[in-house]
């Protein structure tokens, strides 16, 4: 029947039917549809084929296939690599963030990123993302604003299911600004915000987990270390030496 009649718009008609056109293209196709003697019946035919296929059987993988695929994935060491989808604007973002720091710094941060490339770097990414988000807000995101660690520590107990160490580092020039709860790799993280002059340091704390980290990511210095039962991340725009000093003070303070 309609197979013998063709309209130059038929593939666009179909694309509209499949939801592949944007609003403007769709509108102009609709206008065409009003006046075309071929496309009207053709659309009905598309709709008929779709309702027919809606009754097609759906095949689910048999349980034994599922079990054997899971077994394969778990037993093969090649499946251990974890992937982070990289967005295409990544290089551009790095260039923007690194800014005047020059090509060497850019290359170094790229190299760090690509060399690490595993779950640890994903965690670092996540921590740095949270730091960036916090920096964008004027008050540097804190859910509880207090310079008093006796206030901040109990606040966390109502928010998360572990009690992070909250340290008073005022004597070393790091003023506690407050705390917030971030999500890092799908798990809650207690974040303490310290001020060192004009710089902010985010200290992100989670129950201990294995891993390693790049020392620098997207122009930020990153330190990862264990503290008792916790894994602690410190992220800041402080320079490497200053951030190392902060970590030293943190570790030596109860």
């Amino acid at each position: 029947m309609s197979a013998e009649l063709h309209c130059s718009q038929e593939l666009l008609l179909q694309a509209d039917f499949d939801g592949e056109l944007d609003a403007a293209e769709s509108a102009s196709l609709q206008a065409h549809l009003q006046s075309c003697a071929i496309c009207g019946p053709a659309l009905l035919r598309l709709q008929r084929s779709r309702s027919l296929l809606a009754r097609a059987p759906r095949f689910a993988a048999p349980a034994r296939l599922r079990a054997s695929v899971r077994e394969l994935a778990r037993s093969d060491p090649r499946s251990d690599i974890e992937r982070v989808p990289r967005d295409h604007g990544f290089a551009a973002r790095i260039r923007y963030l690194v800014g005047g720091a020059g090509f060497g710094a850019l290359a170094a941060s790229l190299l760090t990123f690509f060399l690490i490339g595993g779950p640890a770097s994903y965690l670092a990414e996540s921590v740095v993302d949270n730091h960036l988000r916090a920096m964008r807000s004027e008050a540097h995101l804190v859910d509880v604003a207090s310079s008093e660690h006796h206030t901040v520590k109990p606040w966390f107990s109502g928010q998360i299911d572990f009690a992070p160490p909250v340290k008073d580092l005022e004597a070393f020039g790091y003023r506690l600004r407050g705390g917030r709860v971030d999500v890092v790799a799908g798990r809650d993280a207690a974040v303490l915000v310290y001020e060192a002059g004009a710089h902010k340091i985010d200290v992100s704390i989670q129950p201990r987990a294995a891993g390693s980290a790049p020392a620098e990511l997207r122009g930020f210095n990153v330190r990862r270390f264990e503290d008792g039962e916790f894994t602690v991340w410190a992220v800041s725009d402080l320079n490497a030496r200053e951030l190392d000093a902060f970590v030293e003070h943190w570790r030596s303070t109860e």
Partner: protein, 192 residues
């Protein structure tokens, strides 16, 4: 009409899975889709299982080079290639620009399985088996496009990636698949 393809491509973004994705997560999340595609391509439940097994082993080999974008399309592409390999199917380009080729050829010529006669009556009992049989009469290069679009709900861009063909080819094959399916239904209704 094919010049619309680049226009379309602009608007279709690949789906990206946020966060960490391990092979096990990819494999188990998209296992049903993988099996379903294998089943539709091979039309055989045992062969489909073999295809998925082999495809998963091959996917593991490629996993180190996988960039993490659209894992479902990535996996389905591998499943599709393994399935066609097992079928020994020749993957030849289908003529895009000659409508006569599709409308002119007898439907009997396009039946890939002579064992199934066109005597099923869709109106009386439109059950799974009958739709299945109808769909299975489409040549594999048309059937795969239709299955990916209507059953796996893939975008044109995803289908293009999975079958390794330009979007224009996807559009044209989808069109032909739907016309042919319509013709098959018409034929059944006439003979009923």
């Amino acid at each position: 009409m094919l010049e619309s393809a680049p226009l379309l491509e602009r608007h279709i973004e690949e789906k990206t899975l946020p966060g960490v994705t391990s092979f096990e997560v990819i494999a188990t999340t998209h296992l049903d889709a993988a099996y379903s595609l294998a089943r539709w391509l091979t039309r055989d439940s045992v062969l489909a299982e073999d295809v998925v097994q082999d495809a998963m082993v091959r996917a593991l080999t490629y996993f180190a080079g996988f960039r993490g974008e659209n894992p479902r399309a990535w996996l389905l592409q591998i499943v599709r290639n393994v399935a066609l390999g097992k079928l020994g199917a020749r993957v030849e380009p289908v003529s895009l620009d000659s409508p006569e080729a599709s409308s002119g050829e007898s439907l009997a010529d396009t039946l890939t399985d002579g064992a199934d006669g066109p005597d099923t009556t869709l109106e009386r009992e439109q059950d799974h088996r009958q739709v299945n049989e109808l769909l299975n009469r489409l040549p594999v290069e048309l059937r795969e496009c239709l299955v990916l679009r209507e059953i796996e709900d893939c975008s044109y861009k995803e289908i293009a990636r999975i079958i390794d063909a330009p979007i224009g080819t996807v559009m044209s094959r989808l069109w032909r698949a739907r016309q042919m399916l319509g013709d098959l239904v018409d034929e059944q209704e006439k003979s009923a």
